[in-house]
């Protein structure tokens, strides 16, 4: 192992390993090539999902997320993760516990039962923000790692709500018209396209999908309309849960509304994997609901 690699505790989450194992594989392999080593966070549970758990019992949400944080504290490493939902839970609980002694004491009271204590000694990062940060990786280094530029394709970028909002508790600057993920896409040789209502939700988050599927799909469908308007060849995001909604959601849209969009949806790590020369098989792209083949034809 090269000595100047940065090591992070890799928090997998639930959706990526269960639904899109290619994202997990891509995250580990692509990060390796830009100087980041992801080590398994052994014993980790669900983040837990911010909408599902947070809206029922905040204390459970805090305690479970804190347990995951303590596991990383015990490894003495910052956490890196690949999902916006996980980011919302793990990053935000870490942030809250570090800034609210009362909350921290309450959570530690619960953790005591399993001989754990939250100390607040680590930070939490989305892998994409590590890629963008010039002090860690930076856009240039991402571009240097590319062996198969994705030239000639238009890619729409979806940031996702849980990553960017609420803005006063985040550190990404402009949350209404951000461009940093677009820059990371451009570094792969693809053309990031600007589309109407770019910051719109995928439709699934915050329990919307669970509560009212038709409404959730309505939002997803609008997103598809706006992407088609600018001729996007694919949509990329940094959240397996958004990916699930955009990808499998297209089948549901076809079923319910009778519209077949056929827009390939790839996690940024899958896109990066392709650009770094990984094969579609390695990335398990055949597990996507929407056929990725038309997109692959343009780049391979």
């Amino acid at each position: 192992m090269s000595e100047n690699k940065r090591q992070y505790a890799f928090f997998l989450g639930c959706v990526a390993p269960n639904r899109y194992p290619g994202i997990e594989a891509a995250a580990i392999k692509t990060s390796e090539k830009v100087g980041i080593e992801l080590l398994p966070l052994k014993g980790a549970s669900c983040c837990p999902a911010p909408g599902a758990f947070g809206s029922i019992d905040l204390n459970i949400w805090y305690a479970m997320a804190a347990r995951n944080l303590v596991l990383a504290e015990q490894m003495g490493m910052d956490i890196a993760l690949i999902c916006n939902g996980c980011y919302k839970s793990i990053w935000e609980v870490n942030h809250k516990l570090k800034h609210n002694d009362e909350l921290r004491d309450g959570v530690n009271e619960v953790l005591k039962e399993i001989d754990m204590e939250f100390k607040g000694s680590i930070d939490v990062w989305h892998l994409a923000e590590l890629y963008y940060d010039p002090k860690i990786v930076g856009v240039d280094k991402i571009a240097e790692s590319v062996t198969r530029p994705l030239t000639g394709v238009k890619v729409g970028v979806h940031y996702g709500c849980h990553l960017m909002k609420p803005q006063k508790d985040r550190h990404f600057g402009d949350t209404e018209n951000p461009m940093w993920l677009d820059e990371l896409v451009a570094a792969l040789g693809a053309e990031p396209v600007q589309y109407r209502n770019k910051m719109q939700c995928c439709g699934a988050g915050g329990g919307v999908r669970g509560y009212d599927l038709t409404h959730a799909l309505d939002i997803t469908n609008e997103k598809m309309i706006n992407l088609q308007e600018v001729g996007a060849d694919a949509l990329t995001e940094v959240c397996p849960f958004c990916q699930l909604q955009f990808d499998r959601g297209q089948l549901e849209i076809q079923e319910k509304f009778g519209i077949a969009w056929g827009l390939p949806v790839l996690h940024y790590n899958e896109l990066l994997g392709l650009a770094q020369g990984m094969s579609p098989d390695e990335l398990a792209l055949d597990l996507h609901a929407v056929d990725v083949e038309p997109f692959l034809k343009k780049i391979l």
Partner: protein, 673 residues
């Protein structure tokens, strides 16, 4: 030098107030009085429902005489509220008013320990014991009177500052009106019409501007800023920076020997000037030259050279000819003025609404602010009063108004407060487009309509009847159609309970306001506090809204908090009245909390001189040696010198070391067994 009192047997009276149930609700007043009675030096202890009432005060007066008291302690509310009252009562009883000490058992006790009666009672006993210990050592003090300079200064020449200056001047007081811009008039001169009467703003303002300019008691100092402030109420010594204007008035020209010269406002210079800059008066939507006036009605009618833009080609100097009004080598000048009182009227700026990125100001052509709307709808504005879309110059038909744009906003980006006049001017805007553009429809996105003033609610109904569409809901975001440049305003209609997407041709953001850029610097110069949001802090929000905690400095208009024109003018008249009182009295009493030098102990080291934040101390020769001397009128009694003096040679009147030690001892060594 303070007299060291000869030993007299202290006889203290303690008076405990119930304040209805405010205090008695959690403090056992009877027990406290019993306790006080047994304290050393206490001659009498009593309680009463309301000590501040006339019978309460009479109790103090009578007890002083009856028990031959040497000091009085009242345990009640904060001294900020009733210290003057009880000092008065002490004086009525024939004692020096500074023989009074107050123990706060309300704000710092009963109110915060509402549900802890035992602890509250114990704490009240402590507070009284401490106050009695100090009261036993209090001395007679005499407030010092200082003469008041018969002049005033108003900082800021908007409608509030102008009104304050006019009132002062008309009361016979010489008034300096300081304005940083080249003309007076302020924000109000940028407005087209005023609500709810729909008067033309300039038409009602320009007569006042003329009055100010003509008033013999007003010295109008435009393009001038406050540079430094020294002194105190009655004797402020203010240094002003007259920014290099490059253009001479007729008086200034005559002083240079150019009789009949100076600027007459002809504007020939502007005609030949080759440099073009955006005019800030038109919010940058119209050009001005490097030598300019804001608009035709400026007061004084005097051109100004923008030396940051001027290329010194000299064309203006040539065409000005014999008037010799232009001096391209001008530099900033400084002047000193002495004034007795000061009114701050520094106004507001528009919050940089592009920071609320969801509404796309500065990103989408057809999203403008209300101030830009005012200039565009104004007949003397850049488009001659024709409202146009910035993207294509077309007349908009569907216009969205976003209220509370950055106001009442707790996201961390906007302002938490209500900017207070946006509802009303947006209603006025709606009226103006309906009146001017046939078929135009205003869509007003609002949280609440706050039509709080006289005839305001009636105006609201009028605009509803004229056909404006009201949508109750905060605008989530605005999206631009890239082809038509139309805007989709997305909001939740909270009355219908569903999201709406309204396509409009133009969006007007009723942007929040914030203190003007110079407010922070100016307030520091005058030692005025501000609240968390930057607005200047009044002495009391209800009972002293024009005063500040700095004696002799008063507030007028929006600098104290958002308010509309009538409220600004009313406050300006209040501030002028308050600021004229010390001037008419001719002298003011200063609290006698001065530092005093105990000369036998002073080693003349001078360390205190450098420490004093008010430059009140100096070293002087006395009997062949150096000792420190206090300028009492400058001393604020902060105690910095007294705490530092290595020889213990500084006596802080009313907060003397023995008094404070006695208080500490009483706290640490006293208490119940």
């Amino acid at each position: 030098m303070a007299e060291v009192k000869t030993k007299e047997e202290p006889r203290i009276g303690v008076f405990v107030c119930h304040c209805g149930t405010n205090i008695a609700g959690s403090v056992d007043v009877k027990a406290v009085v019993e306790y006080a009675r047994k304290l050393p030096n206490v001659a009498v202890a009593d309680d009463y429902q309301y000590m501040c009432s006339t019978p309460g005060q009479n109790k103090i007066r009578d007890a002083i005489k009856e028990h031959n008291l040497t000091g009085v302690v009242v345990a009640a509310c904060s001294p900020r509220l009733h210290e003057p009252t009880f000092r008065g009562a002490t004086k009525m009883g024939g004692l020096n008013p500074f023989r009074f000490e107050m123990a706060n058992i309300r704000e710092q006790n009963s109110w915060v320990h509402m549900h802890q009666p035992e602890e509250a009672t114990a704490k009240a006993k402590d507070a009284i014991r401490i106050a009695v210990a100090k009261a036993a050592l209090l001395e007679d003090l005499v407030p010092k009177s200082v003469p008041v300079e018969k002049a005033a200064m108003v900082v800021g020449g908007g409608v509030g500052g102008m009104q304050a200056a006019l009132d002062l001047a008309n009361a016979g007081i010489k008034t300096y009106l300081v304005e940083k811009n080249p003309t007076i008039g302020g924000r109000m001169s940028q407005l087209d019409k005023t609500f709810p009467t729909l008067d033309c703003s300039q038409c009602i303002l320009t007569p006042k501007m003329v009055d100010v300019y003509r008033n013999e008691n007003i010295e109008l100092l435009t393009y001038t800023e406050v540079e430094a402030v020294e002194g105190y109420i009655g004797n402020f010594d203010v240094t002003l920076r007259k920014k290099a204007r490059g253009v001479l008035t007729t008086e200034e020209a005559e002083a240079r020997g150019y009789v009949g010269g100076g600027c007459n406002g002809c504007g020939d210079c502007e005609g030949v000037c080759p440099v073009i800059k955006p005019n800030p008066f038109e919010v940058g939507m119209a050009p001005r030259k490097a030598i300019y006036i804001y608009h035709p009605q400026v007061s004084p009618l005097l051109y100004t050279v923008d030396f940051d833009a001027c290329v010194k080609c000299g064309l203006c100097v040539d065409i000005c000819g014999d008037k010799k009004a232009i001096d391209l080598n001008a530099t900033d000048e400084f002047m000193n003025v002495k004034v007795g009182t000061v009114i701050l009227a520094t106004g507001y700026d528009i919050f940089p609404i592009e920071e609320k990125t969801e509404w796309g100001y500065k990103r989408y052509d057809n999203v403008i602010t209300s101030l830009e709307f005012e200039r565009l709808i104004c007949a003397s504005g850049p488009t001659g009063g024709h409202l146009v879309r910035p993207s294509d110059g077309e007349t908009p038909k569907r216009i969205g108004f976003v209220l509370c744009a950055g106001s009442r906003d707790n996201t961390g980006v906007g302002k938490p407060y209500c900017s207070r006049f946006c509802c009303m001017y947006s209603l006025k805007h709606a009226h103006q487009i309906i009146e001017k553009i046939p078929g135009a429809v205003p869509y007003i996105f609002y949280m609440d309509i706050r039509s709080f003033g006289k005839m305001y609610e009636e105006f609201y109904y009028r605009i509803q009847n004229e056909g404006a569409k009201f949508i109750r809901g905060r605008v989530a975001n605005i999206l631009e159609d890239p082809v038509t440049k139309n805007l989709h305003v997305n909001a939740e209609d909270t009355l219908l309970g569903r999201p709406v997407d309204v396509e409009v041709d133009l969006v007007v953001l009723a942007a929040a306001i914030q203190p003007s850029a110079e407010t922070e610097r100016t307030r520091r110069l005058f030692g005025v506090s501000c609240s968390q949001d930057g607005w200047l802090l009044e002495a009391h929000p209800k009972l002293n809204p024009c005063g500040t905690t700095t004696a002799g400095v008063y507030l007028a208009g929006v600098c104290q908090g958002p308010k509309d024109i009538p409220d600004t003018v009313a406050q300006a008249e209040g501030a002028a009245s308050a600021a004229s009182i010390p001037i008419h009295l001719g002298e003011v009493e200063l609290e006698p909390y001065f530092a005093q030098c105990i000369e036998e102990k002073c080693a003349g080291c001078g360390l205190c001189v450098n420490l004093c934040p008010y430059s009140a101390l100096a070293l002087v020769e006395k009997d062949g040696r150096r000792v420190m001397q206090v300028t009492e009128a400058k001393c604020k009694g902060c105690g910095t010198c007294g705490g530092f003096c290595p020889g213990g040679a500084i006596w802080m009147q009313h907060f003397a070391t023995p008094q404070i030690i006695a208080q500490i001892d009483a706290f640490l060594l006293g208490g119940e067994e």
